[in-house]
Symmetry: C2
Subunit: 207 residues, 2 copies
DNA sequence: CCGTTAAGGTACTTCGCGTACCTTAACGGG
DNA sequence: CCCGTTAAGGTACGCGAAGTACCTTAACGG
């Protein structure tokens, strides 16, 4: 019993912090933000609440940090050379993400009352959505697939805003593919396409 | 303090229930859904928690009932004969409502985790938004102000969905008029308006 | 008039956040 | 190499709020 786990070497600094964040992330993924308790995180991390409160001022801050720790990897935009495919891909990715446990965490965090956390959450570009599709739209304009007048954050943000809206209405369940297609074909493409786009209505039988 | 002189006659049934709902509504309006506690409601209503729990199974149910009690009055759609004005009016009304204490209550309720309450909330047509603007859009199509192909719930729901999205991003603060105008002028009108000049010019609005 | 029903009152139990306070291990400068 | 400083471990609170138990008491109604 040389390295018996019962008597673990005392962790400090970054190592401990990493362990705590992992534990907190696991808790978020299993129990969600509701049911995320400091006691459970501390127990899972093999430490105690004090250590948590020395690093994060309150529960929400820890949860937010854990989420950030999870969602650390960077996202790469699609570039298929086709606006419709690009936007659909982004919508599908976002749909998957928001329907995943990770997305549930995010939504749980968004519904917190803590103004400080909301500030932080909104600070992350993750939430804008506008900026995400803007480059896609930009390329589409360059290819002549979209009107230059449509090249605005407000317009580029429409698809993700509508997707988010679906989540508000439906709850946690994944948004069906048909809705994504509607968002793109009934709203976004008619909105951004060149003036000759009235043809699209007849041409979308091609899909 | 002292409750000396007023030994109130004991209220029963509907009278008591009404008093409780009023108290709960007042609490919602002053403290919001967070900070809405059964103890406070009971004290404000001059009764005790037991009476509340005999009528509503839990805090969220009572809050929801109180909100319904507040938002009882019906809404009448604008019909100015001009699509842009109609939509802007609806957006301004919704903006006012959501920025008001009442709207804060609604948003607070929407963020509850209780699935039962969410079910009830979504049951109310209040949330759809799509159906709200659909008649407005219908009239616009009849006047030739909008393409008939745009006459879909998904399209009609866009303005309110975008407005709601703004609330998610900004928090409780009222959305500035400029954003409403952007939503209408940069998104909704380009989306629904007739695309080819010939169609717009010809007075084939004959119905 | 009296029994049934529902309101009033009080005191719990349970949970989870956040804090206090002490003990103990690791680190690191002299 | 020692010892003081720092940070982790441990335990026990205080507090607020949800719900519950149980009894007392007023109103209603046959």
């Amino acid at each position: 019993m040389s390295d018996h786990p019962t008597i673990r070497a005392r962790r400090r600094g970054p190592a401990l912090e990493e362990a705590i964040l992992r534990a907190a992330a696991d808790e978020l993924l299993t129990t969600g933000y509701a049911g995320f308790t400091m006691d459970r995180v501390a127990r899972r991390a093999g430490t105690n609440k004090n250590v948590l409160y020395r690093r994060w001022p309150h529960r929400a801050a820890l949860a937010l940090a854990a989420y950030g720790h999870l969602a650390a990897e960077r996202y790469t935009l699609p570039d298929t050379g086709n606006l419709r495919e690009d936007v659909l891909t982004v919508l599908r990715d976002a749909n998957r993400h928001w329907a995943s446990p990770l997305g549930e965490v995010l939504r749980g965090l968004l519904t917190t009352k803590d103004p400080e956390v909301l500030q932080l959450l909104r600070g992350r570009g993750t939430e804008g959505g506008a900026d995400l599709l803007l480059p896609v739209l930009e390329r589409a304009v360059a290819r002549g697939e979209a009107r230059p007048q449509a090249l605005k954050p407000r317009v580029a943000g429409v698809p993700l805003a509508l997707l988010r809206h679906e989540y508000l209405l439906r709850g946690s369940t994944e948004v069906p593919e048909a809705v994504l297609v509607e968002i793109v074909d009934d709203v976004f493409l008619p909105l951004v396409q060149a003036v000759t786009a009235s043809v699209t209505a007849t041409a979308d039988a091609a899909k």
